[in-house]
């Protein structure tokens, strides 16, 4: 019996989401007395992989920017060989494309975007209605697939000395090939950010975003925006959060000059703490907020930047 965790270990640092899936997999494995096998791909060093918290690591080298069909073959093959009962992914860009495919390939039920471990009845909770409600899902199949919503469980640090095995099966060639990657620049990627500073139409125009960016910089935060702001090209599209943009769940979401329309809230209501700055005391966002300031962004932002600088100087 084994629990399989798929994690992307490319890049200099192992992503927090990968450590979260390992923590989740470790807990499933210890509950069932199963072993934990990490499946990954890329060129990470054996030392780095061995130090991750697993009993065994299987790595597929030389598949470059593998596509979802290749990764599905890889995970399904290892899962079958190891007699997997659980297969855990992160609900990130890769996991969203591969976890359902693995489920379909193995005829295994999948919980997309799980936010809890299974409870006593084996039910797993996930967000539905864009975070406005939750559902408890039962997996009815012997092999169960999970994609874990980032930032849902705390990472429990652990180190191991796993045996690292090179995958030798045939994964075919990638049908979807990457032609170019246009780097977004220096900032912190929004889906991974723990703190997000977001602004809306209340900022009046793109020329006023300097303050928003400065506050974000002081707070080591990513920047985000409401839909009209990206529709008017005041800000890039990838900053748009909400029902039709991306959904994020940072520890802190600061909303400046955003009314808090239900479609906007749908993308941010999973945030642990929400702070709202708005001139209108009746703005709906205050109902979803933990902290609020009724005031003009152009007067409040400089005060926040100053306070953040002071805090940074003190620690």
């Amino acid at each position: 019996m084994s629990v399989i965790v798929f994690a992307d270990t490319r890049g200099e640092k192992v992503a927090k989401s990968a450590l979260e899936t390992l923590t989740y997999g470790r807990k499933l494995a210890s509950k069932d007395g199963a072993s934990l096998t990490l499946v990954t791909f890329g060129d990470a060093s054996v030392d780095k992989l061995a130090a991750l918290d697993a009993n065994k690591v299987v790595v597929a080298r030389n598949i470059g920017d593998a596509d979802s069909q290749q990764l599905t073959r890889l995970v399904a093959d290892v899962a079958t060989k190891e007699g997997a009962t659980w297969i855990v992914f992160s609900h990130d860009d890769t996991g969203k494309a591969v976890a359902p495919r693995v489920g379909a390939k193995l005829n295994a039920g999948e919980v997309a975007g799980a936010i809890t471990l299974p409870n006593d009845q084996g039910l797993i909770k996930r967000n539905v209605f864009s975070g406005k409600a939750q559902a408890w899902v039962e997996l009815k199949t012997p092999v169960k697939v999970i994609s874990l919503l980032p930032n849902s469980i705390p990472v429990e640090a652990a180190t191991g000395t796993a045996a690292v095995e090179e995958y030798s099966g045939d994964l075919g060639t990638a049908k979807v090939t990457v032609k170019e990657v246009r780097k977004a620049g220096e900032g912190i990627p929004l889906p991974e950010a723990e703190v997000v500073v977001s602004a809306g139409r209340g900022m009046k125009g793109p020329e006023n975003w300097g303050m928003v960016e400065e506050l974000a910089k002081e707070l080591h935060a990513a920047t985000a925006c409401s839909r009209p702001v990206s529709d008017m090209d005041w800000r890039p599209h990838h900053e748009h959060v909400g029902q039709t943009g991306i959904a994020i769940r940072p520890n802190l979401y600061i909303a400046i000059g955003i009314s808090g329309a239900i479609q906007h809230l749908a993308g941010v209501n999973g945030s642990k703490v929400i702070a709202v700055i708005n001139t209108d005391p009746e703005a709906p966002f205050f109902k979803a907020a933990d902290y609020g300031i009724v005031g003009d962004a152009f007067e409040v932002l400089p005060k926040l930047i100053e306070a953040a600088k002071k805090l940074n100087a003190e620690r």
Binding site: K175, V176, H237, A307
Partner: protein, 271 residues
């Protein structure tokens, strides 16, 4: 016309064909789901086991409508071809399907069943599409009620097709699709030969409001209702719950705005 010039004309044809790059007319299938309006009240009935649909307005899932369907129509308008929609659901989804026809789809298919889960939707669509040779199958990034992002990749697997997820731009030329994806803040440009499945996200197209002619035409466009394939549920949603109500918001006077930063640090401990 002499034989020689005929042959020349024929060759000329071939040359212009290649040079002008006359595209192959595409067969496109778009998955359309029926979801509560984005502002709909969320409440549950039957001991929190079912969504309370009373008084709820249903719409075409925004990702399916604004992005997948409209982009499919743009590709068809530029290159020729057909756009068929498919929906897995009961007769209550017909008005939503007619809306998609009013926006411009040529015809629609409804698989007549209440889907058991995302896998069931994918299995029903796969059973219909497997022998139809679609060049392109477009789904939305996710439904705004179920939020699975599951159906697209599951369908791709069941049909053994490549899959591009979260495409924000999509073009087709020379039998190849090129897409841009927003991943981790970067833009990734990917390429894949047809046929394939694509899940569509914001950026792909602008919203189209159906006009009167479209609405009239939609009434008579074909909507074929087909029986469901036999499937087994792999998952089941046992119950729903609403998140606990938020604590009252703590207000800070604007003059003391800096205090917010202190509270976020010392009280909320998030910075």
């Amino acid at each position: 016309m002499k034989a020689g010039s005929l042959a020349m004309a024929f060759t000329y044809r071939l040359v212009t064909f290649a040079a002008r790059n006359v595209p192959h007319s595409m067969k496109i299938l778009v998955l359309i789901s029926h979801v509560p309006d984005t502002t709909a009240r969320i409440a549950f009935t039957n001991d929190n086991t079912a969504y309370d649909t009373s008084g709820i307005q249903f719409i075409v899932n925004p990702y399916d409508e604004w992005y997948a369907l409209v982009r499919a129509l743009e590709l068809k308008e530029a290159q020729g071809g057909t756009v068929t929609t498919i929906t897995v659901g009961g007769a209550e989804t017909d008005p939503t399907i007619r809306k998609a026809l009013a926006i411009g789809a040529d015809d629609a298919v409804r698989v007549d069943t209440a889907p058991k889960d995302g896998h069931d939707v994918a299995a029903q669509v796969a059973a219909f599409a497997k022998d139809k040779a679609y060049d392109l199958i477009l789904a939305g990034k996710e439904t705004i009620d179920h939020n699975g992002s599951q159906v697209g990749p599951m369908l791709a697997e069941l049909l053994d097709l490549p899959f591009i997820s979260l495409a924000a731009k999509l073009d087709v030329a020379d039998g190849k699709a090129t897409a841009e994806r927003d991943v981790r803040g970067d833009v990734e440009v990917v390429e894949c030969a047809l046929p394939l499945v694509v899940s569509c996200a914001k950026g792909m197209a602008e919203q189209r409001i159906p006009n009167m002619r479209g609405i009239m035409a939609a009434r008579t466009k074909p909507l074929q209702v087909i029986p469901a394939a036999a499937t087994e549920a792999l998952t089941s949603t046992v119950k729903f719950e609403l998140p606990p109500p938020k604590q009252a918001v703590k207000m800070i006077p604007a003059e003391e705005a800096g205090k917010l930063i202190e509270l976020l640090h010392s009280e909320a401990k998030v910075i």
